[in-house]
Amino acid sequence: MSMEHQILTPEIIEKQTKRREEMREDILRPLDKTSLAGKLWIAFLVVIMLIGGYAYYQQLKYGLIVTGLRDYASWGIYISNFVFFVAISLVGALISSVLRFTNFTWYRPITRIAEIIAVAGVIWAGLIIIIDMGRPERLLNVFLHPRLQSPILWDIVVITTYLTTSVLLLYLPLLPGIAICRNRLTDKPKWQRWMYKFFALGWNGTELQWKIMKRSIKMLCIIIIPLAISIHTVTSWLFAMTLRPGWDSTNFGPYFVAGAFLAGTACVIIGMYVFRKFYHLEKYITEVHFDHMGKLLVFLCLVYAYFNLNEYFVPYYKMKGAEAKLLTSLFSGQFAGLYWSAQILGMLLPACLLIFRKMRTPGIVTFFAVPVVVFAWVKRYLIVTPILLNPYLPIQNVPESWKNYFPTWQEMAIVSASLAGVLLIITIFARLFPIISIWETLENEGIELEDLDKLKKEKV
């Protein structure tokens, strides 16, 4: 419901102003001080990152020999992690943009959670690609000697573009929130007050500022949809454009996009639950949100199941050559445990159980979102590694260690550090800025902050 056609009587204005103040209090309260648990959490993430940093130092010093990567399994958990991060970054577009163009308004309190997950995901997606390189400085060659025919160049272009768009889509709706922080959080350290002042861009809620901001958001929302689809399609092409059993598929683009929407939605559900519980935001992130997100999760699980059916059943029916070997290793061989867990726990079980209304409570929806995220990561591992170990030309006359892949502690530490890095970005952001968009949530309740700002100025 919009207030555009509602007459703002003094009573309504007073009621709305009171509601706005109440909301500002609720949302700024978590920014006041960091609890002991919060500090421990940050310390924990920093320690994981330090261990990862040491492992990366070893990798830089001795080369990729410290990893389990060899000639055949040349992509391991780094690239699985990259695909996972790209996947979760897609949710920013889904929540902010796709839902924005529908008539739904319920999503508004969770847009910022989705957008910060997207930004954190895409930042680390870019970094993990560099980490995967034995000679990271050679990344420059992609720019110095570009080859436009190469999907790797497309991927770099699309990731950079998507990161810029996601940051802008996070930043623009945040402007009124930063201005509130600038005006209210005056007891914060000097650097923090300077940061609020700098990033608020002199926001005073003038009519022109609101107009420019809303128009810019609309423009970003339009371009982010094809961008989001292309970032994951191009990532899938890195695989599909090589001639390998399991990757040589025309289904790969939509298959990746569907999986990304699912993984991202599950991440947002977990984020919603954590912020709702620890920031006491029950009034804003309600059971209705979990109900809707639960429904969305079921829908996306079913869509992804459909793409999985196409991806695995069609080659299974034919069982030709190297594909047969790969499918056997997935269905009943070395990777069967991971494969069936990913299909059942990461997709089918949540879809079957969350379809019931009674199951869509915050706790239960989150409970099922966790395996969806965990097995989304495992699924990426299954897309990358077993295929590399089952090439068209048989592996022969090579050292035994080349025939298998198992990540070393350095790889595990670096991947853990990257996951901690994503969580650290989200945590620090939520410690500094409002995690719920105040003006968008108020709009959801029928209160136009823009109108209130206008009235306030007229009064002055």
Partner: protein, 193 residues
């Protein structure tokens, strides 16, 4: 027992069989001596068809039914001239032949090295003959360079197909144009503050 044959002719036939069968068996048991076979590979053009022809003889007599495989030497290994490495059997004149394809590249002078091989034959074991001729398709580096110089998806970075440059260019200009406009909007927001 021989008296049971009332007919004299039958009696004679019986005796002849009794005597000849063991003699025949003894004769069969005698080992046939196979001399070393000789193989002659000729690369001839018959009715404008390049043909690799092999003649296998044993003491100047043609040997029939020997399985022969034909190969062409490539950079790393031998390429079978018949698909899946199948063999050809020599006929009653001791000849086995196979057609040589027109499009197989040779070395820089167009020379190809053909090998005819008999492998593990029951009577003659393994042996082979090799010959070379100028049958290979000439690979012109100029034409190759010309081909590589064309704009294609498999070309080098500076040989991008123009349609790809245009499509990518238009997309990048539209998207980044929008992004720069939005970034410029931030400046306008600051000024409006």
């Amino acid at each position: 027992m021989i008296d049971i044959f009332q007919n004299n002719w039958l009696k004679k036939l019986f005796i002849a069989i009794i005597v000849s069968v063991p003699l025949g068996l003894i004769a069969q048991e005698e080992e046939i001596e196979y001399g070393p076979a000789s193989m002659k590979l000729t690369l001839v053009v018959e009715d404008s068809i390049k043909t690799c022809k092999v003649l296998i003889t044993d003491a100047d007599k043609p040997v029939e039914g020997v399985q022969v495989r034909f190969f062409v030497k490539r950079f790393f290994s031998k390429l079978p001239l018949i698909a899946n490495g199948k063999s050809v059997s020599t006929n009653e004149t001791g000849v086995a032949s196979v057609e040589f394809p027109d499009n197989l590249p040779g070395d820089e002078n167009g020379i190809v090295v053909v090998t005819a091989a008999v492998e593990d034959d029951d009577n003659y074991g393994s042996f082979e003959a090799t010959d070379s001729t100028k049958w290979g398709a000439m690979v012109s580096y100029e034409s190759q360079e010309e081909e590589w110089g064309e704009r294609s998806l498999s070309g080098t970075g500076d040989k991008v197909p123009l349609y790809l440059v245009m499509i990518a260019g238009v997309i990048i200009i539209i998207v980044w144009g929008t992004l720069f406009y939005v970034i410029y909007s931030l400046v306008k927001i600051k000024k409006a503050g």
